[in-house]
Homo-oligomer: 618 residues x 2
């Protein structure tokens, strides 16, 4: 997706010099009306709480806010070195084809702003309905600010539907004058993508106690390696005798200038079984890294680009310190350095806010989804194959308190083939509520997200986690497991009060899978069983994949009984029979959300808005 | 769906007496603007070419026209005996739940018109977007005329999308004053349904020759039996020595007063193998009916309620008369008499327009879809199970002329479980064109429909016919076959020039079906084969149906090779190997049609329009 091209020397170095006031043509009269109509609600510049750099150099900086009453996002885009305009937009997975774009372009004399879309070949078209609404443009010493608005849903089939979860933002820089929108050659653009959660939940910040203290878990002046991807590991330690506290909030600490390089950061607590852990400060994949660091996997805090501070609900905090809790912490930082900057120093990390005045409840983390086992597999060449993991009514009946638990945050997790993760709460066979859904999930963007609404789960409820995978680039089956080329389907839910239930997951019954292998072998023309007693992955690898074998595997997964892991810890099950359990049956699905379309949307002119951006520099 | 209730005696007999001029409240000011805006295109009353009675008594008469440029239907509804209003609308299959309704109602003092919808429980709600646009109301001696307009597509999720093919219209009569829309109790209404093809194709009528003659094939003053459903059979005869002619048009002849009773009519030509056929005039299911009449199945003409005259394209006509063509014709009339009128006499039928000046091409009829065989079966309890029949590239390559054929009309056919029929033309693995699609198909409404666009089919093209079935009311599998409780999936396409290809259909390879039966038996817990060598229907009936067996049958049908019937007549195949043929592979689907929403739609007020309908009668 990323491509760059040096400017041809024959081209005069034209640059936009200054921005004068905007004017509106008659065609754009609607816009005047709109701006007037919005005056009360047009945000001030200081009013964009979310910010993310779009490109690795930070030349494009996006700030935004979300208005749930208006069902719209207001964007403020800072363009530090404007040339002949830029493309900004959204697409399903960050591709430049089939994208929904706002375009600012100049032909060398005049500048225009318009809502466009790209077709499957990447050709740009002016949209017949203009839904990126330009609200203003302003020149400042640091660059040009563009202010525009987009409704979540426009009901224009050419437009991207802004949903909860990950949004793939794309940008492209126009380095030469362009005569028209249609003349823009997307494949020759210098551009890229940035993933963000656009629709941040609108959560009121709980009151913080006066005895609150802070602790920074930060990298010790690390030199960021001059390579695209680095996972940096640094071991930190709580003071000896540190008593039990509640973490009630945390926030990122990013070294100034490195905003575009620090992709995500996590603080893990180590296992309490070990009295001590070695010090370490280096790449996580280094051979020098002590093996024991693999036992530091309990998430205390996680942040990813574009995320803000994380607040625990006022009744709960995350316990750390005290007996039965390891003093050792592992900080992991993912540096994303595609331009291979050298010698950049970094002291980023996470600042924990904690209190000794314990809140009423300890927060807990529970793992939902699929057991890590090869019996759950994805055929090769699939564009959206679905696997489902169940936390059954029987398990929640046994393990949850009568008053239930409250899920307030969630972190979705798959390996590289994951494209979509959804967890739904079902009660008495009826789907009641989406716990968390990311229809544009990317394994490269896993953050803990506060839920828009806290979800109450009671004994007898079912939690059903569905993951969608893409294996179009693979030639053999992808089985479940820990390996990076194996797959997972997990939702780590953050909840309170903490219970003994750490893990509520499932996998297909192995006996039924065995019948599937027999069936597939017998369905071949030979009608003979060719399968020796080999491992499950080997059996999956030897299947001659075709639509029949693929469809029957799907049918098996949606029919066969399951083995349920209803566990206190990864090795200790709750008492009971958990094998050959019936699949939860769903008699009523949640309705598909009906996009609400703003009535004003249809009134926008189907023509670009000319901008007076002043004289071009020669 | 139909229910009636006598008016309680305690209720004063209030009736609307006269209609004065309409007035608009401020809220309805939009409507004034709209009517003004539409003035140029508001149709005159004489301008509704299509007409159908809604109820069996003919008290409600719907006329309409279709504006393709406006993508809208203009309705004129004649209410002969207005009481306290009525409901008129559309729903998926004629049900009163989840329906899209225009409602005229009176509280005894004031009258209102509004766009409403009913939920899954039949409760009425005012629609937030008013898309049935009232254009006028007029009192005439015969009753009240309501004139209103509805866009095909409104993009309001509560609205019905008017598509090609069958539309289920519903009506309900308000016999008492109602205080509000919400107070209407749908289950207590006197109401019913009527099926029509709303979106009649906009076809220019070919020039008719000066030597055109007519012949009426009509019932000889039949007394309509006093029962709900009668299929009446009457044998007619061409004159001896009648030479070859071309039928170039036909139209219905319906006895005045019986418009609501004559549901559909067909004229069949008998088989040429028999020199003579007995005379007959009586019910088709009578034991007195001679068996030989079963050999009169070649359709010459077919009409169903709401249909107009049928015109052949100017290059073609349907041959009848002359050597090799039977002189005997069978007229079949379906009388629908739910109110069990007694003693009604009827001389309805079809008027054929024919010419001795033969047109360049004979028209032909070709049968597409599934072979009548039990190997194609539908499990019980399915709400939308799909079966597909293929006319393969190999067959069209062999049987069609290089210049191709032109399909200009189509009659879809299934038995009672059919709910949807679609035929698509595919070339080089890419779907190119819909030949005919009825997403609301009903086996009770089978008419020959002229296509909106003539479809050219060339050697090597594939014609793929997909039928969707509902077997929710059945407890055992429904197999393919001739019986009324067995199923068919057929599209009779009318085309020219006539070729030898009479039948281009398919069914799954029986060997693969056998493997399926084995597989299903082995997948049972016992893992033993329980199937003796019994008939295919018996094997289907003995399957313990569950989602797995159902899904695997689906997978089989979309994977296994097919047996192709590429036949000159039902018994004579074209030479070649037609067994174990590969399924046509489709690499590119037709895009889903994107509903085009009129920009004006959003501007309608979300409130009912008050009407001044004058004083109420006491």
């Amino acid at each position: 997706m990323q491509s760059s091209r040096s400017k041809p020397c024959s081209c005069p170095s034209l640059k936009l010099r200054e921005v004068a006031s905007m004017y509106f043509t008659m065609v754009a009269a609607f816009l005047v009306i709109l701006v007037v109509a919005l005056q009360g609600s047009v945000p001030r510049e200081s009013d964009f709480p979310y910010k993310v750099p779009l490109d690795p150099q930070g030349l494009l900086e996006l700030s935004w806010n979300v208005s749930y009453p208006e069902q719209a996002v207001h964007f403020q885009l800072l363009i530090r070195e404007l040339q002949f305009g830029l493309l900004f937009g959204m697409s399903d997975r960050g591709e430049f084809e089939n994208a929904d774009l706002a375009v600012l372009w100049s032909d060398g004399h005049n500048s225009y702003f318009g809502d466009a879309w790209s077709d499957a070949k990447g050709q740009l078209h002016m949209d017949s309905q203009q839904d990126y609404q330009l609200l203003g443009a302003r020149r400042a010493p640091e660059g040009l600010y563009l202010l525009f608005r987009r409704a979540f849903s426009t009901c224009d089939p050419k437009d991207y539907l802004i949903e909860d979860g990950t949004v793939h933002l794309i940008y492209g820089i126009l380095e030469k004058p362009v005569r028209s929108l249609q003349a823009i050659n997307i494949s020759a653009l210098h551009g890229g993508l940035q993933r963000v959660q656009l629709l941040k939940p609108n959560i009121s910040i709980p009151e913080l106690p006066s005895d609150m203290k802070t602790m920074e878990i930060t990298a010790p002046d690390v030199v960021i390696p001059s390579q695209e991807t680095t996972y940096w590991c640094y071991m930190a330690e709580l003071p000896a005798g540190f008593p039990k506290h509640h973490i009630i909030m945390y926030e990122p600490v990013v070294t100034a200038g490195n905003e575009a390089l620090v992709h995500h950061m996590e603080v893990f607590q180590c296992a309490a079984e070990f009295d001590s852990f070695p010090h370490y400060n280096g790449p996580c994949d280094s051979k020098m890294k002590p093996d024991r660091l693999n036992y530091c996997r309990h998430v205390l805090a996680a942040w990813a680009m574009g995320a803000q501070a994380f607040y625990y609900p006022e009744e709960a905090g995350l316990a750390f310190g005290g007996p039965g809790s390891s003093r050792y912490l592992r900080l992991e930082i993912h540096y994303h350095n595609p331009l291979v900057f050298k010698g950049r120093r970094d002291s980023s990390g996470i600042r924990l806010y904690y209190t000794a005045t314990l809140r009423p409840y300890d927060a807990g983390i529970m793992e939902l989804g699929l057991v890590y086992t090869p019996v759950m597999a994805i055929p090769p060449g699939e564009d959206n194959f679905i696997l489902t993991g169940y936390c059954t009514d029987k398990c929640t009946q046994l393990a949850l308190p009568a008053a239930g638990i409250r899920i307030f945050a969630s972190q979705l997790h798959t390996h590289l083939a994951g494209r979509e993760v959804v967890t739904v709460l079902s009660r008495d066979g009826r789907e009641r509520q989406v716990v968390n859904a990311d229809r544009h999930y990317s394994p490269h963007f896993q953050e803990i997200r506060m839920l828009k609404e806290v979800v109450a789960v009671f004994p007898g409820d079912e939690l059903i986690t569905t993951c969608t995978y893409n294996t179009e680039d693979r030639s053999r089956a992808t089985v479940g497991g820990f390996g990076i080329l194996e797959e997972m389907c997990v939702n780590y839910v953050h909840y309170y009060p903490q219970t003994q239930l750490e893990l509520c997951k499932s996998a297909v019954d192995p006996g039924y899978l065995h019948r599937y292998f027999n069936l597939v072998n017998r369905f071949n023309d030979e009608e003979v069983c060719m399968c020796p007693q080999v491992s499950v992955p080997q059996q999956f690898y030897s299947i001659p994949w075709n639509t029949f074998n693929r469809d029957v595997l799907k049918s098996l997964y949606s029919f066969a009984p399951i083995s349920v892991h209803c566990n206190k810890s990864s090795a200790v099950r709750f008492p009971g029979n958990w094998e050959k359990q019936p699949l939860p049956s769903i008699t009523e699905r949640l309705p598909e959300p009906v996009p609400h379309c703003p009535p004003a949307a249809g009134a926008q002119p189907a023509a670009p808005v000319p901008l007076k951006l002043g004289q071009l520099r020669r």
